[in-house]
């Protein structure tokens, strides 16, 4: 590591004020700080910094929390491939290899187009430092996309989301909507054929699927029971054992790359909550809101989808992923503690409402989070206002 440090120190003057490459200072700075994390330490005397957490460590924590789900998702892509094509893998390495071939290019495209092209360009034009915000966004975008997504679409969506939803507002920490979800919503509405339906969730690599294969996600299956009138749980089990409650929890099912395994997502949730990076209030209230709304629908329900046991809603689709990793985005969520309870609960409630009552969309978590992102500032506004009022009443002047 010493020689890298020396090399960086050597070229540093050229990038500093007055140097030849002054324009590219922030480009240089981002690489330097990325490798050599804050050198500042507190002295033994005087003020102590209790916890020197900065943006970088914050973001790295989220990336670490995302890794279990990403690794599992990679494996799952390969697993689904062999399930659907009926081919015999020579060993478990083959499963990993298919997954890596599919997932790694998507991640690379998302980073190259988001970070190395868009963000670097903006940092040079607008002269603002490159933040680590995109580290998380760049890994979230592949995880919310189906494994069959064409790479050029990943590139287009990433650039769109970074420019319109983030850089137009001034960069990391200043956006209103979750950047990764804007990328997904963009693809969802621009290329619905690649983002919904039964055919996109399992990578087939040009092979014809085996007889009786159905790439339908659990949400698609239960949504169809509204018309057929069949019991929702029975309809799930008709498609095979992998749609039982327990299997859906472990997550070897078709779906977006990172969303299928609730178990892996919960490991991530524990990391986020233990380090205090993700708000436990949002996670708890999100799941509670979804559960209670589903329970209410179950009690009042008129069709099989409504009458389905609420716990199924928690393990299907992207609900867990969205609540744990996207709703807790500290920039776009409510900032106040009371606001976080309301914000999280509303996301859960809206997700179930969109899922069950809106036939246009099988999954609701994406739009529910975007919707609440829009209303988060309003929630904060009223929470702060109520707080002011309460304290004014207490004041004795």
């Amino acid at each position: 590591m010493k020689f890298i440090q020396q090399a960086i120190d050597k070229v540093k003057p050229a990038f500093e004020k007055g140097g030849k490459l002054e324009k590219y200072y922030f480009l240089f700075e981002s690489i330097e700080t990325f490798l050599f994390v804050p050198k500042e330490t507190t002295l033994r005397k005087g003020v102590q910094i209790r916890d020197g957490v900065d943006l970088k460590r914050f973001m790295i924590t989220v990336v670490i929390a995302l890794l279990p789900a990403l690794v599992f998702g990679t494996y799952n892509v390969g697993y689904q491939y062999y399930q659907a094509t009926g081919l015999e893998p020579a060993g478990s390495w083959d499963l990993w290899w298919i997954g890596i071939q599919r997932v790694v290019p998507i991640v690379i495209v998302s980073y190259v187009f988001g970070l190395f092209i868009t963000e670097f360009a903006f940092s040079v034009i607008r002269q603002h430092p490159i933040n680590e915000g995109f580290l998380v966004t760049g890994i979230l975008i592949p995880m919310v996309l189906p494994p069959t997504i064409p790479l050029w679409q990943v590139a287009v969506a990433t650039v769109f989301a970074v420019v319109i939803a983030k850089e137009a507002f001034g960069g990391t920490g200043m956006n209103v909507l979750n950047v990764a979800l804007v990328a997904r919503a963009f693809l969802y509405f621009a290329y619905p054929g690649f983002m919904s339906g039964d055919q996109v969730w399992v990578y087939l690599g040009g092979h014809t699927p085996v007889d009786g294969f159905s790439g339908a996600t659990p949400l698609g299956i239960v949504a169809s029971t509204v018309e057929s009138g069949q019991n929702a749980v029975a309809a799930l089990l008709e498609h095979g054992d992998h749609y039982s409650l327990g299997s859906m929890f472990y997550g070897l099912i078709p779906g977006s790359i990172g969303e299928t395994s609730v178990l892996m997502i919960l490991i991530g949730a524990v990391i986020l909550m233990a380090t205090g990076v993700g708000s436990w209030r949002i996670i708890v209230s999100g799941f509670a809101g979804a559960y209670l709304m589903a329970l209410l629908l179950q009690v009042t329900g008129v069709n099989p989808y409504m009458q389905m046991a609420p716990v199924y809603h928690l393990v299907m689709g992207g609900l867990a992923f969205g609540i744990v990793f996207m709703a807790t985005d500290p920039v776009t969520a409510s900032q106040t503690n009371t606001g976080k309870w309301i914000y999280g609960a509303m996301i859960g409630v809206l997700t179930i409402i969109i899922r069950v009552l809106n036939p246009a969309y099988p999954e609701g978590i994406m739009l529910a989070i975007l919707f609440m992102n829009v209303f988060a500032p309003l929630i904060d506004y009223y929470v702060v206002g109520a707080n002011k009022k309460r304290r004014l009443k207490r004041a004795t002047v």
Partner: protein, 203 residues
């Protein structure tokens, strides 16, 4: 139950701003502060809630073909619908005047804050749009009232949310060229995506 459904539908699903893009001018211009946005929203709710049923009465008893038969059977063939726009606008303008006087009397601060935009409600496309939708969709009198109030609430909902987002934007570092209306248009577009969550629900 029908009326409740219609109300929910006109607030969320057929939102004036995000489903029909009506009333954009005041939506973009008067959304800098939450308090003024609430004021304007309330005024729109009030005006829409009154004009829709009043215009319904006018349409039903004066303008429609054969509507004037209550006056005399001779008018059975008379169709005054070509006067629809001008009549609706005149009624809206009169009611806006009424609202303006009420606001000035009871809340001078709000009156000052709304400024020119209060009289401009008269030409707010959402208001006229509300009346025309009501005719087009053959609403009854009660439905017209619920639809008017619901559409107004949808507008208020949207403009207050936008105002809160814009207040938060004070902490953002928006590029110079996008400051003001530019970034507001972008936010409106992104909010439109978020509001798509309800479009498609059949009540």
């Amino acid at each position: 139950m029908e009326l409740v459904n219609l109300g929910i539908k006109s607030v969320f699903i057929d939102n004036m701003i995000f489903a029909y893009f009506l009333g954009m001018c005041s939506f973009l211009a008067v959304s800098k502060k939450v308090t003024t946005a609430i004021g304007l929203g309330a005024a729109v709710v009030f005006v829409l809630g009154i004009t829709a049923p009043v215009n319904w009465l006018v349409q039903e008893y004066i303008l429609k073909e054969g509507a004037l038969t209550w006056l005399s059977a001779d008018f059975a063939g008379l169709n005054l619908e070509f006067l629809q726009f001008i009549m609706f606008i005149a009624i809206i303008a009169a009611i806006v005047q009424l609202v303006e006087m009420v606001v000035e009397k009871f809340s001078p601060t709000l009156y000052g804050a709304l400024g020119i935009f209060l009289p401009l409600i008269a030409v707010n496309c959402a208001i006229l749009g509300g009346s025309l939708f009501m005719v087009q969709r053959d609403y009854t009198l009660a439905e017209a009232g619920v639809f008017g109030v619901g559409s107004g609430l949808g507008f208020m909902f949207a403009i207050v949310a936008l105002a809160a987002v814009r207040e938060k934007l004070k902490y953002s570092n928006v590029p110079d060229g996008l400051k003001g209306l530019g970034i507001t248009m972008l936010i409106t577009g992104l909010m439109g995506i978020a509001f798509k969550s309800f479009i498609g629900i059949a009540l």
